[in-house]
């Protein structure tokens, strides 16, 4: 079979056994791979209302069909399940090399269920699967762990692993691949930790076929030249995501001191220019020509990143403009296995509660000494970390100020305040995993391009979000990276190799819409309703007093009106439930 290996590796941690099942090719046709295929398997493997901490909650690892070829950016994998952080779909991506190597080992999908009696590592080399007691790896930080796994298992292995944060089941513990690649959001690391699974290491020597390989190479060479190595995409190599600091700060939507402002006085100390001065090298993910990974060195700290989200949430949002401290903090989060978006939110909230005199956590905006202790404290749940580990929603509620916790559906918000980019309000409210900028990104047109106004919210924004979400839902089946601004025409060129026929934009859009609706059904099945499609009130009603977006108010009534329009455009009823007609049209074979 071309592109697919036809195999699903099922791992049962409770019995420490593994078996191979054939890939469901009907689903592969309907959902392609990545996000779509993960969701279809997730639906099938879970009962409504399943406790996300139960052994039955599957950890599904799904690359796309192009992983293990030389289609740029497609080494990505999605880690799925039911989120232990908030009970929505867990749908978290990382680059690196795991997707490609898993394919070389012979698998399209990895499904892990059950819970081991003791901390365990799984070694997969082609058709051999070994379960290894992992007591010696307990508490190990990412770099040391990966070096140990290479020494103990295979020098050419790659791995998905958790740090101490995952072992302690922190709600926003992430999973690491190749040290710097994190499936960050939604508690992937907590899910692995709940299975007593420290690491999955994989080495593969097999082959991914594509049909006529030389014809394929010729076409990919053309696509690389014409559509990847272009100015549209190459900013990620030349600049990388720190370039967004000046963009969001200029537009008044950079989270600053727990979202009290959209502009940060210290922005110029942590922007792209500042990072370029300490840049030491560039690296790429497996099978990627773009090479967006920036390594920096300052004093004793060298490593990749930080990326924009970390700069925004663990920099401006906590009042830190010290580039050295920010580098150290980012490094500690990588080592302990923490999602930096949630970390920066929770920390900003605790600083806000302290400075407002609500509760003294001993944390203050810009206080570097306490700041640098936080990653370890959160991961190990020691000191102030024990309480902060409950997350923004619970922490803000506990101290009687739910309005200060910047989250949607329990997932802490990324680095784009909707007050400077109104379309983001609908993007966050309707995202399938809570506050997320990777499902729809109106800020791209509202601020970066300026082709839509940033300070209006109307039906055109509802429509933009629907279109973008469908596009990305399909793109994440591929799985193409966010950093390749790939359109349907280009995806069609690659889909033509996969399906051996012309694939239309309408077909691809429909797959995206199918995937989006299946995710919606899952969240509805797990108890989410329209009442949860809301965003923090301050974003809707409380204008900033400084920065480019000062005085701008979205308004709750306007937001609700556009949410209605969004549902209508989606073919959902007024409660946000997909209609029978819509599900039939999309060929979705499951029902609530």
């Amino acid at each position: 079979m071309d592109f697919y290996q036809g195999n699903v590796l099922r791992i049962d941690m409770s019995t420490c056994t593994a078996k191979v099942e054939p890939l469901n090719m009907d689903w592969a046709r309907l959902y392609v791979g990545g996000k779509g295929l993960m969701l279809r398997y997730l639906w099938d493997l879970t009962e409504a209302g399943m406790d996300p901490w139960s052994p039955e909650n599957p950890l599904i690892v799904a690359p796309g069909p192009f992983a293990g070829t030389n289609v740029s950016t497609c080494s990505r994998v999605v880690l799925g399940g039911k989120s232990p952080a908030n009970g929505t779909i867990l749908d978290s991506y990382c680059g690196g090399s795991f997707g490609s190597i898993l394919k070389f080992a012979g698998y399209d999908l990895l499904i892990v269920q059950g819970c081991a009696a003791e901390l365990t590592a799984v070694f997969i080399k082609d058709d051999k699967v070994e379960f290894v007691p992992a007591a010696k790896y307990a508490g190990m930080l990412t770099a040391e762990l990966e070096e140990s796994l290479r020494a103990d298992f295979d020098p050419h292995m790659t791995s998905l692993s958790i740090g101490p944060a995952g072992e302690h089941k922190l709600l926003w513990a992430c999973v690491s691949n190749d040290q710097y690649h994190k499936a960050g959001r939604g508690g992937t690391g907590a899910l692995m930790g709940s299975k007593n699974l420290k690491a999955i290491a994989v080495a593969g020597t097999g082959r991914v076929t594509v049909g006529d390989a030389r014809a394929f190479l010729e076409d990919i060479e053309r696509i690389d030249t014409d559509y990847i190595l272009t100015d549209t995409n190459y900013w990620v190599h030349e600049e990388g995501t720190p370039v967004l600091v000046d963009v969001t700060d200029g537009a008044g939507c950079q989270p600053t001191r727990n979202y009290a402002s959209g502009t940060f006085a210290g922005a110029s100390h942590i922007n792209s220019e500042a990072f370029k001065k300490i840049r030491v090298k560039k690296r790429a993910c497996y099978q990627c020509t773009l090479g967006c990974r920036n390594f920096h060195r300052i004093n004793d700290t060298e490593g990749e990143g930080p990326e924009y989200e970390t700069i925004a949430l663990c920099g401006s949002n906590v009042g830190v403009d010290d580039i050295d401290a920010l580098m150290q903090f980012n490094h500690l989060c990588d080592e302990y296995g923490l999602d930096t978006i949630s970390t920066g939110n929770v920390l900003g909230l605790a600083m806000d509660l302290t400075e407002k005199g609500i509760h003294d956590f001993g944390l203050h905006f810009g206080d570097l000494e306490a700041y640098l202790k936080i990653p370890e404290q959160l991961a190990l749940r020691t000191g102030v970390g024990a309480e902060l580990a409950m997350g923004s929603r619970a922490l803000a509620a506990k101290y009687g100020h739910p309005e200060l916790g910047m989250q949607v559906k329990g997932l802490e918000a990324p680095g784009y305040d909707p007050r400077g980019s109104f379309g983001m309000s609908i993007a966050y409210a309707t995202s399938d995993r809570g506050a997320c900028h990777m499902r729809s990104f109106p800020i791209g047109v509202e601020v970066v391009e300026g082709s839509m106004p940033a300070d209006t919210l109307d039906e055109s924004k509802a429509e933009f979000n629907v279109t973008f979400q469908n596009h990305y839902a399909f793109k994440f089946c591929g799985i193409w990276c966010d950093f390749w601004a790939i359109d349907y025409e280009q995806m069609g060129m690659l889909m033509k190799h996969l399906w051996k026929r012309e694939v239309t934009e309408a077909e691809m859009t429909q797959i995206g819409e199918r995937v989006w609706n299946l995710g919606r059904l899952f969240n509805l099945r797990e108890g989410y309703t329209r009442a949860d499609d809301v965003i923090p009130e301050v974003w809707l009603e409380k204008p900033f007093t400084d920065g480019a977006s000062a005085g701008k108010v979205i308004g709750t009534a306007r937001f609700n009106e556009v949410l209605d329009q969004y549902y209508a455009l989606r073919g959902w009823d007024k409660d946000g439930v997909p209609t029978e007609a819509k599900l039939t049209e999309l060929g979705i074979d499951v029902r609530l």
Binding site: G68, T69, N70, G96, S97, S100, F104, T142, A143, E146, E147, T158, D178, Q179, Y180, G204, T205, G206, R207, V208, T209, V210, A213, R214, F216, L217, I220, E221, D224, T225, L229, Y234, H237, K281, K282, R283, A284, C285, Y286, Q287, C288, T289, G291, R293, F295, E304
Partner: protein, 167 residues
Amino acid sequence: MPHVMISSKKCTGCHMCELGCSAWHEGGFQPSRARLFADVNPTTAVIKGHSCLQTGCAKCQEACPNDAIVTRQITVTPAGTFAGKEKVGESVTGVVLVVDEEKCTNCGDCYDVCPYGVIHEHPERKVAYKCDLCDGDPQCIAFCQNQYVLAVDLKIDKADRALTVDA
């Protein structure tokens, strides 16, 4: 004589060279069978390139008891660009070391002496296999980040010009 080299300094560790190489030669993407490789430590981000220097090294040829490593004339015209293009033009003509599969007995002497670990037993054909510069269109160069990075580049070794061509 023309050969490819991976610059450890410029390489970003994307492995595209191995992917292009294996697909061109093996009919599918299989980096374990690539004829060159970048040894990347993802944790430290340290990279070491391994590729055949052809006649500039020739240890395999010297070690072969059956004269199965032979020189073949080749004109290399890399896709995109390469560092010496302005000096030497679009193409470079020279010789490349290839395995004469009729003569190769898979004795393994060459595997042991190769300083770069880029000549191996082919798992199915049971003979040695190595870099042959893809009949003049090296896929490693074609799929490197090319004009931006030039990590995998075509090199020409002056010292080898005296060598004769047998095939």
